[in-house]
């Protein structure tokens, strides 16, 4: 038990309790059920992508293009739907687009060997550019009613579909990461890709799967985003990668790979969501919210480093 609290996840739990308690006592509407559901709804797309990003970062890679894939999928859906394609077909096509984008990333990272930082940075620009080409400077909306309500209407119990998808992904991916051989291999690749390769792990194939998964999940999130906003512009989901990566890194996933847990990511997601929600209810601007999250991100890495330094200093 003491071991749990000495771990990163334990620390996160303590922070979460502090944040929630502070919110509950200082912010009026915090504890209403509507607010609790809102808390998730506003960021549901980001937290869905964060689950896939966890795998990528544990494997010692990074995917900076997720927000651009989200935007591209949203814009593609808007264009397709407005060109007369039935919404259901458009959705499938957009998900395939996400898979294609992920596969394109995977090719350069896994088979050509270009660092994922460079590839996904270039494609962050590239996919965003394609989104702008599709929509130019117009905003498209007028989506079917059922599509727009996906994030709002109760699907199972009082919870909307997007939240159900998040929980399902959370459970499924947690099992995949922590209880299967595949998950073990992801950790091994993150720890030392060369050793993994010599041990018979198919590194290139697993990296490809992870980037395709990231692309698919980003496209899915982009569709939810389009539905929630009910209208799409070329800059849809701009800059979301910052929050997504922050949630994963704050969750104790090492940026060097090989370490991390879904529980940590879940706790950090809850912390970030509650922080943003509490600040929003107190009318703190989005920019300061981002700054607080930024400080939290830097602090999450700086803190352990400083503690390490103090420990190493001879008494």
């Amino acid at each position: 038990m003491k071991q749990f609290f000495a771990s990163w996840e334990g620390l996160l739990l303590v922070i979460l309790v502090i944040v929630v308690a502070t919110n509950a006592f200082t912010v009026d509407e915090f504890l209403t059920r509507q607010n609790q559901i809102n808390l998730f709804q506003l960021s549901i797309e980001k937290i869905i992508v964060a689950l896939a990003m966890t795998f990528i970062i544990i494997s010692a890679e990074i995917d900076l293009s997720v927000a651009s894939i989200m935007g591209l999928a949203a814009c593609a859906f808007a264009i397709l739907f407005h060109s007369g394609v039935p919404a259901g077909v458009a959705i499938v096509l957009c998900l395939l687009l996400g898979v294609a984008a992920g596969a394109f990333n995977a090719f350069w990272v896994a088979y050509v060997g270009i660092p994922s930082l460079v590839v996904t940075l270039a494609m962050l620009i590239g996919y965003r550019g394609f989104a702008r080409v599709l929509l130019e400077d117009q905003g498209l909306g007028n989506f079917p009613d059922w599509f727009v309500r996906l994030g709002r209407d109760p699907f199972i119990g009082p919870f909307p579909l997007s939240l159900i998808v998040f929980v399902a992904l959370l459970v499924g991916l947690s099992i995949l990461l922590h209880r299967t051989g595949f998950g073990r291999q992801v950790f091994v690749i993150g720890n030392n890709a060369e050793v993994a390769r010599y041990s018979g792990v198919k590194v290139a194939r697993i990296r490809t799967i992870l980037f395709i998964m990231s692309g698919f999940v980003s496209a899915l999130a982009g569709l939810f985003y389009a539905g929630r906003l009910a209208s799409v512009r070329g800059d849809a989901a701009f800059g979301f990668e910052l929050d997504i990566i922050t949630m994963v890194l704050l969750g104790g996933v090492s940026v060097f790979g090989g370490k991390g847990s879904m529980l940590g990511v879940l706790l950090s997601i809850l912390i970030v969501l509650n922080l943003r929600n509490g600040m929003a209810l107190e009318n703190i601007t989005g920019h300061i919210q981002t700054a607080v999250i930024g400080i939290l991100l830097i602090g999450s890495v700086l803190g352990p480093n400083l503690i390490d330094n103090l420990r190493k200093r001879p008494a």
């Binding site: 940075l121 270039a122 962050l124 400080i295």
Partner: protein
């Protein structure tokens, strides 16, 4: 052919290839756009590149040490805005303003440097955080107000048009010269100063550098401070060029600087790269960007997409060339032994 390749350093070949590509691009666009090869077009591209060039050089210094600086865009915005605001209250001459801009940039760069070099926060995290923090500071400080040209002293407003000398209709603008001089200083310093070799050493093999007695932390810290100083210079040029500064000033410059650096042949793993390459890379990226807006065939919305494709192509070409050169050298050496 292989003996020719062996005689030249891969970096030299890379720079020559870059110059060739630039010439090809200019030739292509001159056939598509009227009046392309005119002094006016030259100045337009030159002044636009003059803003990005200092940032690209600073980014190159950081990338050489195996780090990355994603906060330069926000840094440019902060410097441009704060200097503009300050000049509105206290009109200063060019030299004090320049020093102030450089100092401000150095201060912000030092924050990055402290986090990365001494806090040992990975540079991507640290600069992702400071990117948000700097931008937020700017938004809060400015209260969404815009700096306009009527509050700025006359020398600032006139700077974009100021020329050093004129040959017929061909003008050489002050801003362009300032940028190029900064590039030359850094280029010469990097290739000649012994202490500058440390940047390459730290990026090339951090452990070996440490064992050779190089204070890696200080080198990395200096790299980020220099990046900040150069971003400060860019901020001043930005202020002079645009005059009207909004809170989104400089947004996206970090991506452009990385594009210029990567296209210019600086290896993202650190340890290699030339300032000449960075200059050519900046000019190439900016030429393509500016030419596309004037090319009737392609809508302006393709700019970003093509920029992404350009970076990918440059990095892929770089990787292939480096690998095939290495293979060729190995095979010829094996043939000799």
């Amino acid at each position: 052919m292989s003996s020719l390749l062996r005689r030249f350093h891969p970096q030299t070949l890379r720079v020559v290839a870059l110059a060739l590509v630039l010439a090809l691009v200019i030739a292509f666009f001159s056939s598509q756009i009227d009046n392309y090869l005119s002094p006016r077009m030259f100045n337009r591209i030159a002044t636009s590149a003059a803003v990005i060039l200092p940032i690209a050089i600073g980014q190159a210094m950081v990338v050489m040490t195996r780090n990355i600086d994603l906060s330069v865009g926000s840094l440019v915005g902060i410097v441009a805005y704060l200097i503009g605001d300050f000049l509105g209250d206290v009109p200063l001459g060019p030299v004090p303003t320049l020093l102030l801009a450089l100092a401000l940039g150095a201060f912000c760069g030092a924050i990055n440097g402290a986090l990365v070099a001494y806090g040992r926060v990975p540079s991507i995290i640290a600069t992702l955080g400071t990117l948000a923090l700097f931008r937020t500071f700017l938004v809060e400080y400015s209260n969404a107000a815009t700096i306009t040209t009527d509050s700025l002293p006359k020398w600032v407003v006139d700077l974009p048009q100021a020329t050093i000398f004129t040959v017929g209709t061909f003008e050489v603008r002050v801003m362009v010269v300032v940028s190029l001089v900064a590039a030359m200083i850094f280029g010469i310093a990097l290739s000649r100063l012994r202490s500058a070799r440390k940047f390459y050493a730290v990026g090339s093999n951090p452990d070996a550098a440490a064992m050779a007695g190089i204070n890696s932390a200080r080198v990395v810290f200096m790299a980020f401070v220099l990046s900040g100083v150069l971003a400060g210079l860019a901020g001043l040029i930005f202020l002079a060029k645009f005059g009207n500064i909004t809170v989104v000033a400089g947004l996206g410059f970090e991506l452009k600087s990385i594009a210029a650096v990567v296209v210019g042949g600086v290896n993202i793993f650190g340890g290699s790269g030339t300032i000449l390459g960075v200059v050519l890379g900046t000019v190439l990226v900016d030429t393509i960007d500016n030419s596309l807006t004037r090319w009737a065939l392609v809508s302006e919305f393709w700019r970003e997409a093509l920029l992404g494709i350009l970076i990918m192509t440059a990095v892929a070409a770089d990787t292939f060339m480096t690998r095939s050169f290495a293979r060729m050298r190995r095979s010829t050496l094996q043939g000799v032994s």
